[in-house]
Symmetry: C2
Subunit: 743 residues, 2 copies
């Protein structure tokens, strides 16, 4: 038994402010430790245990991991499982497996058992006798694993087909050591191939789609996507590989892999939904109708497994129909309701059925200008708007057992903070249960009586609290110390400035150089993203900044970031103001930031640099060429150059199709501005980028050559849309060098 | 009649040295005018007229081109055809064609008619009545045109098949406006496809092979290559194209074209030779035997059209058999002789039959250490070595009508000069007919009595002379003025230094900065090539240097170039000393140059830069990484990085196959040295390079990323092995900027 062990550890942090703050970060520190040892420490695997008022987390005791349980009522902690005991059970079951250094991610089933997965198999750990049992398994090469806990069914995909394993049974002739194995008895579909796949994510992860399989409530049915891509253009990705110089092997020409990439305005893929009925062992196709290029989103089963709901969005993305299908026959029953918008509608959350009254569900909609919750009955009638105000409801946490209170997260009006709210469903009144500003994330106990909360803010690295359901603090579970306490301090300021058209208040983050002296003149590095579905600035540790930006501040740069219109968590109008003209209003807002910078006496206006990736690469390339006298140096990674080369789902939402918006596309096509470039601009691209295709920067470089414009270029062979892994240190050293040499 | 008009124009040059030499070149000047207005002027289309002692050239009169004829005996010039008169005949024949501004390249048939080709058709201009007649034509898309003058047959290739047009006849249903047209009656082969082609160059232009069709002496037979590439690896070249921003068109993914590229040690293509007999209208395959991957080189007909000769080289390139085949049946008759060498033999010149005694032929061989001429009889017996000494015979010019004297070009021992020699075939004694040092090129009149000579040297921009057969000067035809006389002067020095091992004398070219001051310290730019079959330094205008190097000298750099061992025109041992170890001795020789530079008081040894392309890119990358403390800045264009990725013909000659020379390949694989890089290195590549594949630099960049090495990179989308055309200005500006910013 350990009582408040972790709180004690955490408090050590507060005693360390007497360290001399003289150390400087290196690029390597910032990149490779920025999310590990130099990030605020976490309380690992914090979660509630079903059927109890206890929660658990993983911590270390004498350097080895243990699982600790704490009772929320008594606040007594119990160290219930060591990694040694876990491993003893593990190696007993699997003689050939090695012991683990760390617990896999565990999920409590009840107070005496938890589930975990390892190497494509799912297991149950029984705490009472410390034994492990195999629940289900998939071949090592399987992807898209989806485990259904009430039936222990494991859906997975392999070679474009869908499979479901039950209870870990394998074919007698299965031999995983020999490589990829098809388990015929698991096969749900058989005709998958290179252009038709089953059970995989569709529509390139837009519309909140993150998976391709959807078990019904009790696991008796499985809805899944079918994706047909034969009609979509091919794009080849080059595989650059090093020769093995140690052996006598020969070289061979670079080979390619094929990607189906539908570009704006072109032929799109076609999705369908199928249902497999485990009792009847039968596949049937859901009878969606309409344009085969429409989007089938937010697939959701009724709690009784009788009906399947799909939010069907037209390709133009301005009309969403929430449709109901028979879960047994797949037949269309009715459209519950339709949402339209002159710009676009973007359903991202499936229906959420209200406990104790399954004829009602909650639906997210931005129809009043902010993402809010609405109560509907299953006929499709709106009964009530549940939440209101200039705040964005980001997600539902849970609903209490009686169905009286619903907990959700929502942002503050300025978008910087995220709070936990408690909604009284009957009166439709919400109460914020947090007191401090910052980014709060709540986990609610099964009985609705307690909240486990994680908090971070610009002044709080990371803090874990136990509270009651109304937000009254019961105790601090863990308080991370400042992970960069030994390093030179740079002041971080979060504030807002008005947009030039006075219509919006724009969030700004500045990091002042180490040893800041307001009588000096500093160069500025503007870090930009600027696209939808992202927010660079939050009231969280470092203001949401990457540690590399902090490193650059230590190196003597003022670091500046502004979330322009188009970015998220500020409401619909703030985001969709850029519709059909990506890169126009965003640039105007960024220039408001530049004007603010130029008003500061300590800023050297002749030494402004800008850096961004992806949409941020589009922005930095735009800023270097649309207003060529403003920035001296720019770096653009994986930038969109011409939206006609970007994919259908994202592009057409914001830009319509090129055929209907030639002016918008023309104005946003950065090759048209290449000739204006005056400063130093470095473009960077991963050669295997399957999001923003390599051809964007190759096209731009070609245009620069054609126009006689000197520009710099670098590629990361084999890397996709971002440079991750150990090579990220190289990337950030490259970018650092470029600014240091030229800014 | 114009007498010595051109000599007079030429002499103006000597009067211009009083111009103020203050102008500085720009990169644009150096690149775009370096081979036009800032190059020494040429006497255009200088040539002898058959059946006469007259020669002709094209010049301008009142801004318009005229053809001038001069009688070598009387030296009387006659302006015989204006461009207007030519165009009048031209537009009379082809009503739809526009008038030409310049004469096409003409070839005299006799004193009253010349041939020319235009847009894949061959024409005869009759001077007496000023009319033009079509001789033969090929479709606009045809390639590999080969015109046979005695029969007016025109061989060409289209869609991998071979065709021959006779007398311009076309199929009745042929309609060129509709695009690519197959003229069925012209078809010689029918089964050509993407992996089997006919009539095209084989073996990637190595072994002196520059074409794929070989008409017999009187045009009655046609030998041609068949190339099978199905067994060769595919390599994809990316087509990067700009979107048309003016229209509403959609974008589409980058597409690719396929290249068959056999890499060292891998499967090679297979060549065969076929013969088409025009009288019998019959194709037959020449019965070559042996390894299907052997090289079939130097195809040559006997003067009586009865026999076909092929120099057959084994894939290992160390055994050449000169073989004789029956020109009617294709059957093998005999091997005339065999040449072997422990390193390699490289036949590059076909047999040359002696006039008046067709049973004898001359053969080029390096067997005594220098390329010399040997007389053989048609049984294959060597009768006589015709030339000797430490000089390289580069080519035969002609043999006089009586077969007594043969004229050839040969280099001086130091390789810097090239002279015209007159060989008495009976006594095998050669006489150099030139007096001045420099690069001489001679054209011999049909009767052997006169020589038209072009001369250039470091002090002579370009001069054209008329001489008698023994070299006695009759008159100067044209003397180009110094094309850069108005620009600041930079002193060019040609000299030699000993190699470190004292075994060789290495030619050096230095260009000193403008306003050179020996008390100052200058940075140095080393320009390097260093590979076989090339020589950077000759006793010619600017010492053989590109005008951009002169520009860099004007910008304050000492420009230094050294022809290391491996380079041409210095004899066999000098060239093949690098065998199996490319990049080893070459680097040692370059470092001898560096040591020389460091011995100069006016050189700043901390500011050395190096630049090269192709083999020169291999050299500059090597110099930056094998001796990382020597050079501060390097630029490597289209560099070979790992010889295992380079093509079979070239690589295996110098390196053997990787399986048999793993150490040599390993030592030359530059990815092994990437980690050593200390200075700034910029790699540049044309994305469609079909000689040194793009994967060379992409592999190197990947290795640098893996090793944490910072390096710079740039690509020229769509460009092949060099950046030509208008974009070359961009390339040289980019390189200039890189040296200026970093050196």
């Amino acid at each position: 038994m350990i009582r408040k062990l972790l709180l004690a550890i955490g408090l050590i942090g507060f005693t360390t402010s007497t360290f001399a703050q003289t150390k400087l970060l290196t690029v390597e520190d910032a990149v490779s430790k920025g999310r590990t040892t130099l990030a605020p420490e976490r309380l690992m695997q914090l979660q509630w245990i079903p059927q109890s008022n206890s929660f658990s987390f993983v911590t270390k005791k004498q350097g080895k991991e243990i699982v600790v349980i704490e009772n929320a009522t008594t606040q007594i902690q119990d160290s219930i499982l060591s990694i040694e005991d876990f491993n003893s059970a593990w190696t007993n079951l699997n003689k050939n497996e090695k012991a683990m250094n760390r617990f896999p991610f565990i999920t409590w089933v009840n107070t005496s058992a938890f589930r975990f997965s390892y190497s494509n198999a799912y297991y149950l750990f029984n705490l009472s006798n410390k034994t492990i049992k195999l629940l289900a398994k998939a071949p090592k090469e399987a992807e898209d694993l989806d485990f259904e806990p009430s039936t222990n069914r494991l859906a997975y995909t392999l070679l474009n087909n869908l499979f479901v394993n039950e209870n870990g049974a394998v074919d007698a002739n299965e031999n995983e050591a020999a490589g990829q194995v098809i388990s015929k008895k698991d096969m749900i579909t058989k005709d998958g191939n290179s252009i038709v796949s089953y059970g995989k994510v569709v529509h390139r992860n837009e519309f909140g789609i993150t998976k391709g399989t959807f078990f019904s409530t009790n696991g008796n049915k499985l809805a899944y996507y079918q994706l047909s891509e034969g009609m979509v253009s091919d794009y080849k990705l080059m595989n650059v590989s090093l020769n093995d110089t140690a052996s006598k092997n020969l070289s061979k020409p670079t080979d390619f892999e094929n990607l189906k990439y539908p570009m704006a305005g072109n032929k799109s893929h076609q999705a369908n939904v199928w249902i497999y009925d485990f009792k009847k062992k039968r596949n049937l196709q859901v009878a969606t109708t309409g344009d085969p290029e429409q989007y089938l989103t937010n697939i959701c089963w009724s709690p009784d497994e009788e009906y399947l709901y799909i939010a069907v969005l037209n390709r133009d993305q301005n009309e969403m129909k929430l449709q109901m299908f028979d879960g047994t026959t797949g037949q269309f029953i009715k459209t519950l309701f339709t949402e339209t918008h002159p710009k676009y509608v973007e359903p991202e959350k499936p229906m959420y059925f209200v406990k104790n009254d399954l004829s009602k569900f909650i639906w997210f909609s931005e129809k009043d200008g902010y993402n809010h919750l609405y109560l509907y009955n299953n006929k499709g009638d709106q009964l009530k708007q549940l939440t209101k105000g200039k705040m964005v409801v980001t997600d539902i946490i849970t609903i209490d057992p009686k169905g009286a209170y619903l907990y959700y997260h929502a942002t503050s009006t300025d978008g910087l903070n995220k709070f936990v709210y408690r909604l009284d469903l009957k009166s439709a009144t919400s109460t914020c249960i947090n007191k401090l500003e910052g980014q709060h994330t709540g986990l609610i106990s099964e009985d609705g009586g307690y909240v486990l909360e994680q908090l971070t803010s610009a002044s709080i690295p990371r803090r874990y609290l136990l509270m009651d359901a109304k937000g009254k603090e019961i105790g601090i579970l863990f308080n991370s110390i400042n992970p960069i306490r030994e390093y030179k301090d740079c002041r971080i300021k979060l504030f807002s400035i008005p947009s030039t058209d006075k219509l919006a208040s724009l969030n700004v983050r500045m990091i002042l150089p180490a040893d800041f002296d307001s009588t000096r003149k500093y160069p500025v590095l503007v870090y930009v993203y600027g696209g939808p579905h992202a927010q660079m600035i939050t009231n969280s540790w470092l203001g949401g900044a990457d540690l590399w930006l902090y490193y650059m501040a230590q190196q003597g740069y003022v670091i500046f970031t502004l979330d322009n219109r188009g970015s998220m968590n500020r409401g619909l109008e703030f985001e969709n103001a850029t519709f059909r003209n990506l890169g126009k209003l965003e640039i105007e807002d960024q220039l408001a930031g530049v004007n603010y910078l130029k008003s500061l006496k300590y800023v050297d206006p002749s030494r402004l640099g800008v850096y961004g990736w992806s949409f941020g690469g589009f922005m930095s390339t735009s800023l270097m060429t649309k207003t060529p006298d403003v920035f001296k140096v720019g770096v653009a990674g994986g930038p969109v150059i011409d939206w006609r080369m970007y994919e259908i789902m994202y592009t057409e939402r914001y830009m319509d199709i090129p055929q209907n918006n030639p002016e918008g596309y023309h104005n946003a096509d950065l090759t048209n501005y290449a000739k204006n470039l005056k400063g130093k601009l470095l473009l960077i691209h991963g050669t295997n980028d399957n999001v923003v295709l390599w051809q964007h920067t190759l096209t731009y470089i070609k245009k620069c050559v054609d126009e006689g414009v000197l520009i710099d270029y670098f590629v990361y062979p084999g890397h996709e849309h971002n440079v991750l892994g150990p090579d990220r240190v190289h990337l950030m050293r490259k970018i650092t060098q470029y600014f240091k040499e030229n800014l």
